[in-house]
Symmetry: D2
């Protein structure tokens, strides 16, 4: 009896929440305020003590709150004095998670690059940074919501001020919620697009703006099987990943001639994250994918690539997400 | 002197407006309100006198304001009594503008279909409806903001109640604002995506939900060269159109087996809108494109097409927008 | 014991034949004669009594033996006097077999076109011609080896002399021998390419040469899933069909602006030939595919299509041959 | 007057030659001999003195004349005793010409690989071999007509006997004769296909057969813009290159799971051959393309690529041959 009441209550709450997440608009004459409620997205605030000491120049940025953010955070790793030029190449990976992002960061550090890793929750990246430093590498972790313009702009300002302009920027975020199209809710549809496409636009635009001054640099966008094929149940992923591929094509045509190498890597694979697939199927070792990222970054500019696929030797072709 | 002051004021206003259009978020504990200001989008309200008489059932829908909307509007054309089954096939075109949409509506009416045309400003469609009726056809105009979920849901409820479930739904909206990626502002980027992709999702999802009960119907999404190629300066168009193509692929795989024919038509052409191109170049006659829409709709189901291109005989291949 | 001897003999014969089928070259100074043995390909000779009466002009062609050919053959159906202009549109289908070719011929005849059907063995087409004529249509059968230049040139000369220039030419031949690449023998590899690609070149070139004088006409090349995807075990089919797709793209770019509509139809389906699939799976009714061929031929020229796919509503996408 | 006569004679000769190049067939009951005349293709015979000493095993191969061949030739470079295992990785490049092939050979040698280079005229490769050896590398030149089965089989037997199974095989041949489709002659059409497609099949099949025993190795097929796009005037190139791409896709699906990495590199560029383009346009440095060949060969097998493009940073996309 109580359970039935509880169920009913839960149903009403879900209905209410679904309704609150809908876009609404309040008309104010020729102007409208468009809004909806969403879950708060906690993003680590890049305002730790050590960073604040880095200079007054940085303070202005801190005044603009990057996003719905929470815990103050001191980026891990030694901060180099901004006045001296960076001795190492600098890589920035946005959307770093276990598996692909972690392995790429470690591999780039072993390649001799200073690595900035960014994720919404930068605290979680501390272990990664510690690990890289224990291996003799250089790494810094920052909080960033890649789907939020101010947060991305802030990240790039911060990185430029503290570490210089990145030589290599990788967008590593991917988001997938399966479901048939008729069942897909608008907030989920938009959320998928924001993570798979809008974020890559924000990051690539910021990277391009920074790199154009020096007329060099590499921007790599990470795609998947769903960048090329819209399969049943994969709407949320495919719409964003197709859009990201469009972005990669446009950027390559706009930026290559300015000296900036834009490339799109299509990962047609399940990526190993320290545990095997439930079905025991084949997986790509993210360190192996990283070899190809490095090869792309190292390509001499008379023979650049704009797109390539990767998958394990023992995997079916184009059967993945 | 006054001009300089005026310029300066204009600059400040533009800066202010640009800033107001940015997404902001107010945190309310675990929940955040995400909002930004936008220009008010006037959408014709489908609440005219004649329609309101159509039944109490409709009233509930009217109570939910579809979108930032303005002038009340009585849909043009005779409304059939909802109780009697529709004698004609019913077509619904969303995003009807001069050129493609207008010609398609006229052509479908001549084919013997009752045609519902929807655009943000339904008042502008009165002439089209009158023209179709003067040619002996049947047409109705409705206001709908295709990028607004409530507006699209409302349109389909209304059409279902007044005219029945459409046999053919065509998404005809396209939006393009040229510009290099580094100069593209987030609101323009999102706006392009909403018109080129989100709208087609909302319309196709509503169409699918309605058609699934009868296990038949045709949904056609209108793409362009930028559905296949991301060219320099075409970011806003390509990101949305690539996404719409993903949607078309996913929908075809999900809906064909339910009896619903989903097809993607790639218009690699400038469309004639009553005036020639400035450069005197070749154009597609939209009535001619309509022949192919009809052929797709008429395809027997053991040999359906999912994608095709159209362009004039004297046009370059894949050189268009 | 005898069986073993027999086996051994068979093995030797197979080995010998395999060896004889290999290309050889005899050098004659700066010139070489390239040759190999092959099975004789019997092609119906279009030299029946009625045709020979048609005029001295034709005799010259008859003097050039079309190909390794055999039985003399009088084309079925009444031959119109070549002096009077054709009252009906004329269609020519090359590579007519049960299923697709047969159904297309019948459907085009019902559409009011005079239909010329060509296959290596024209005698087998008599029933088809009789059937079309019993339905009130007009049809003629000719022998032609589509992979042999003289045979194709001869066919077109003959058709031009007897029936006029075709308005629609369809290349309908497909050949597939499965097998892993390491096991594929050169003669089989070449044979697949000749039927799937060389033949379509010969036919399309002859059609283009004839149509260019009138600046109108439609050429349709028939492709399959393997025109787009090279799948394991499908080498012989895919190499030819990819090549044919290249031909279709080149031809469209060269001929559209001359008024000739070239289109490539990708049949991603098993085609019904009067009996269901062994696995009970879905099939395309070839009459239904023919509807799309007609729609392509009827497209007004300001909105031509260059490529489209067809498959049954209940079939998987791109899982076919 | 004499000139006119000369012209007339030339015309007759051209006509005669064109006619002799046509395929003919002599019927011998159920068997036919298919033949045509062609220019003799001189291929360096790999039967030099030093090689003949290498063992009786080799003699059987020499007994089968590889192709219309001419001058006996001793492969350049020191021949290692076949009994000792190769200390270095072995690369084999077939279709080596100035530009791409030359640079790739030098680059692979600098990478520490023993390099076997093959072309029809192996004598011309002596300078290349000498250059590589002067730089401390190891190289051998062989004569091979890549479009001739016996010649390719012979090359692989010879290489296996003398140097071992190659770790990396690159098919580097490309042939292009421009022209509108209606003007393309069958021998030219076939010749283009033989060089761009049949040869890559022969080489890849031989490589696969050799590599399968060891379950490792890399096969790289070299494509161009015309592997993806059939442009006006590019028939002969596109038909073969599309076909080669089909081969690459089929091979990847068949061989990856056997441990053999097959990849297709699409060179969308003009390649520098020691002199700039006539129009001063951008060119790819073939040494730079070689970096990507090496990167492909070095990819760890949990993240292999099957296809990628290369072009200069300052080149238009997909505007090349």
């Amino acid at each position: 009896m109580r359970k039935a009441a509880h169920n009913c209550e839960g149903k009403m709450l879900r209905y209410l929440w679904k309704s609150l997440k809908r876009w609404r608009a309040i008309e104010l004459g020729p102007i409208a305020q468009v809004f909806r409620l969403d879950r708060s997205t906690p993003v680590t605030r890049n305002g730790g003590r050590r960073v604040r000491q880095a200079g007054a120049r940085h303070r202005r940025w801190l005044a603009i709150p990057a996003a719905p953010a929470s815990q103050p955070y001191a980026p891990t790793g030694a901060v180099p004095a901004p006045s001296q030029p960076p001795a190492k190449e600098l890589a920035l990976i946005v959307g770093v998670g276990p598996g692909y992002g972690y392995a790429l960061a470690r591999r780039l550090a072993r390649e001799g690059m200073a690595v900035v890793v960014a994720a919404r929750n930068a605290v979680r990246l501390d272990t990664l940074v510690a690990q890289i430093e224990s291996e003799g590498g250089t790494a810094f972790a920052y909080g960033c919501d890649a789907t939020n313009e101010a947060s991305v702009t802030g990240l790039f300002s911060h990185v430029a001020a503290q570490h210089g302009v990145p030589d290599l920027v990788v967008y590593a975020l991917q988001s997938f919620g399966p479901g048939l199209t008729i069942d897909v809710e608008v907030p989920a549809f938009e959320e998928g697009w924001r993570k798979n496409c809008l974020g890559s636009f924000l990051v690539a635009r910021a990277a391009a703006r920074a790199m154009l001054l020096r007329e060099r640099g590499t921007i790599i966008l990470t795609g998947s099987t769903s960048s090329l094929l819209g399969r049943a149940g994969h709407l949320n992923l495919a719409v964003g990943k197709f859009g990201q591929r469009a972005l990669a094509q446009v950027l390559a045509r706009e930026l290559w001639s300015q000296g900036i190498h834009v490339a799109h890597i299509v990962i047609d694979a399940d990526i190993h994250e320290g545990q095997g697939r439930e079905d025991g199927g084949p997986q790509s070792d993210p360190e192996h994918i990283s070899e190809t990222i490095i090869a792309l970054h190292r390509q001499p500019r008379s023979a650049w690539s704009s797109e390539l696929d990767v998958r394990p030797w023992n995997e079916q072709f184009w059967e993945h997400c």
